[in-house]
Amino acid sequence: MNLDKILPFVEKPARYTGGEMNMVRKDGAQVRFVFAFPDLYDIGMSHLGGKIIYHMLNEREDTYCERIFAPWVDMEQQMRQNNIPLFTLETQMPVKQADLLGFTLQYEMSYTNILNMLDLSGIALYADRRGEDEPLVFAGGPCAYHAEPLAPFMDFFALGDGEDELNDLIDLYKQYKVSGKSKTDFLRMLSKIDGFYVPSFYEPVYREDGILDEIKVLDKDAPKQAVRRVVIDFDNAYFPTKMIVPFVETVHDRIMLEIMRGCTRGCRFCQAGYIYRPVRERSPQKLRELAMETVKNTGYQEISLSSLSSGDYSCIVQLVEELKSDFKDKRVVSSLPSLRLDSFNEDFISDEMKRSSLTFAPEAGSQRLRDVINKNITEEDLLRTMNCVFSAGYTSVKLYFMLGLPTETMEDVADIADLAAKCVNQYRQLHGNIKNLKIVISTSFFVPKPFTPFQWCAQEAREELEQKRNYLSGLLKKVRGVEYRWHENKMGFIEAALARGDRRLSEVLYKVWQKGARFDSWNEYFSFTRWLEAFKESGLDMDFYTVRERGLDELLPWDIINSGISKKYLQKEYELSKNGQTTKDCRNGCTGCGMNKFIGGKCPCE
């Protein structure tokens, strides 16, 4: 493939040429696996999950895992003009020649890129039109739990922690490849393994009013529900210490060291907090070993101690201190993302690494609303942390909030401005003036997500959300030292439709892609009108998916998946939220979500 003809005409050609440090080169592997991140290289190469899967599968002698990303618009144009199909970075193998093609679903707005990448590969988009010689196409990652809109395009979905189930997949695939059996036979065998959902074995049936009536099980061997996989021994779970180091500067250009998986706080809006349960930690000893190895093999000088809530890791202060001394001479610094306001410690801000700004997420302006969403942060927590951060010399802070949370009133919105003003005062008390202070308030519109207590909620109507945002904007203009950042985009509404969508939305996806949708998570390419048109032409009403409140006994499209969290528990949490009652952090006592039953014993961090 002569890429020299087109690479000089595209931005950052290194996105497509591979050859990075620690890229895997292999010959003669039986199984050709392609891992696809449906966004630009610069974004996808920041994704830890992809690196775990890439290196773990490549440890197997029988498998060669290669990577592809969504080519940028300039590259796509060149490829189409020159009849160059989508190819892997490692060997320039046309993706169509792969045995298994796996997409990671990190966010709903990447779905159109998936269709585009299939098209660019020359692979039939609809699974039932794919030949026996075309790759098996599947998807995993957090959105796989509720990806009915993608169901007609996927042969199967992978649910849960990938470490064990992907190995099971390849073991089964190897048998199938030499057996002469059909794809359907393979899928039938696969559906019996925990962690796999084969959508073609189920048929959703709708009522007159559009609500799901039943999910018919078409194949007698298919399970009633697809069940997620959980890796329990997290300390010994695979970690890629010889991870690939991109040449191109990526969004997160550092080692992501996964210190913990799962979260026990139970914030009611947060899907990750539910689908990644139970909390499992790696031991500090193991983490130090992994850090040493990884720095040695990559040369990175920054380690991000990653998890959903790193301040909650049980020995976080000890770990930060130990890493500081381990890497003193190599000048490798550790940073902590995702810090909660109630577990913030001044030890987390390293002297060596002066970040330009710190980010926190109070999420709601009033205590009442924070209790509704079970955020369990108080104003005192916020101000104490601000005091700590300002005293350490930071003059720039970003605070995230959501607008449109369930039961939210205009007073709650006004309370955001109130909190901002209090933070400004905190700074003024310390420094006497607010000359250098910059507090950035950032808001996004709440999107109800499946497998959370709010999965039944209506998303607030567009006009009301925009009204609230304008109201907040007016209030914040009057607070000196504060900047309000918001994007004029309607992505959140499409995200809301896709997140709780059913299989009929696949038609909308197909149509909007045909109209040219791609890179929908990018402001410059997202077009709300294009989506509205696609909905209209498919004869579907977007409001049915977004602003409609679901009945508590309504059959939901994602009920076919067993996430390990009981639906009754989510309902109970939903009821509690209506009264503003909170639920404790389950490290302090089991709250009965069902996870311990699911894994057949006590949760690891109990």
Partner: protein, 221 residues
């Protein structure tokens, strides 16, 4: 101590940009267990620099870097340690310790040799190439349009060309490569293409870099 090294940027990594290459070496030093020296101040950075930036798409066997090291290191060990951990396509060809005081490489770089090998003629034969090059040798000036911050600019590149020759298939040239005057080989090649009847493709390689040391202009390694 300050180490200078000559390195190769091969075909596997020809599309890696100059800024990316800086990071490649920063990380390679850490992997090789070579401790670089850091600058003082609020935002300390590794004291690593290059003689001249190479455009994306151009290969080279004559790139130079200089690096201040915390500890005394033998140049052979330096090269060996780095070569053991560099990504495929990068290779340290030679290394030498520099006696201070010595100016920065960037300040003394003067000119560079390039080879432009035509890989796909697109109907442009060797006679045509010879004619175009002769034309360029004989012209008193050569105005090209370059995009600048303020819009399109007209630059005369003729005085930036020390020599320009061809056998019809390969073009060799020596161009300015200093911080006051730098003619990129791809800019020259674009101008050559413009004067032909087609859209030939070529591979460009920098083959030598020359430094001005007390009036003598020569390669350092």
């Amino acid at each position: 101590m300050r180490m200078i090294a000559r390195f190769k940027k091969g075909k596997e990594v020809k599309y890696i940009s100059h800024l990316d290459i800086l990071r490649v070496f920063q990380r390679a030093l850490i992997r090789a267990d070579i401790l670089p020296a850091y600058s003082q101040g609020f935002n300390p950075h590794i004291l690593l620099g290059f003689a001249s930036a190479l455009p994306v798409g151009v290969m080279s066997c004559a790139e130079y870097l200089e690096c201040k090291l915390q500890n005394e290191t033998e140049p052979e060990k330096f090269a060996e340690a780095l070569n053991a951990v560099m990504p495929l396509g990068f290779e340290i060809l030679a290394a030498k310790k520099v006696e201070e005081p010595f100016p920065s490489l960037m300040a003394i770089t003067e000119k560079a040799d390039y080879i432009i090998e035509i890989t796909e003629p697109d109907g442009v034969g060797s006679e045509e190439i010879k004619t175009v090059i002769t034309q360029m040798q004989n012209s008193a000036e050569m105005i090209v349009e370059r995009k600048s911050k303020k819009g399109m600019k007209q630059i005369d590149i003729k005085p930036m060309i020390y020599s320009l020759e061809t056998d019809g298939k390969t073009i060799t040239c020596t161009l300015t490569a200093s911080n006051v005057s730098n003619l990129r080989p791809d800019v020259l090649w674009e101008e050559i293409i413009r004067r032909t009847s087609g859209q030939p493709l070529a591979e460009i390689t920098r083959t030598e870099l020359y430094f001005n040391i007390d009036g003598s202009v020569l390669p350092l390694l």
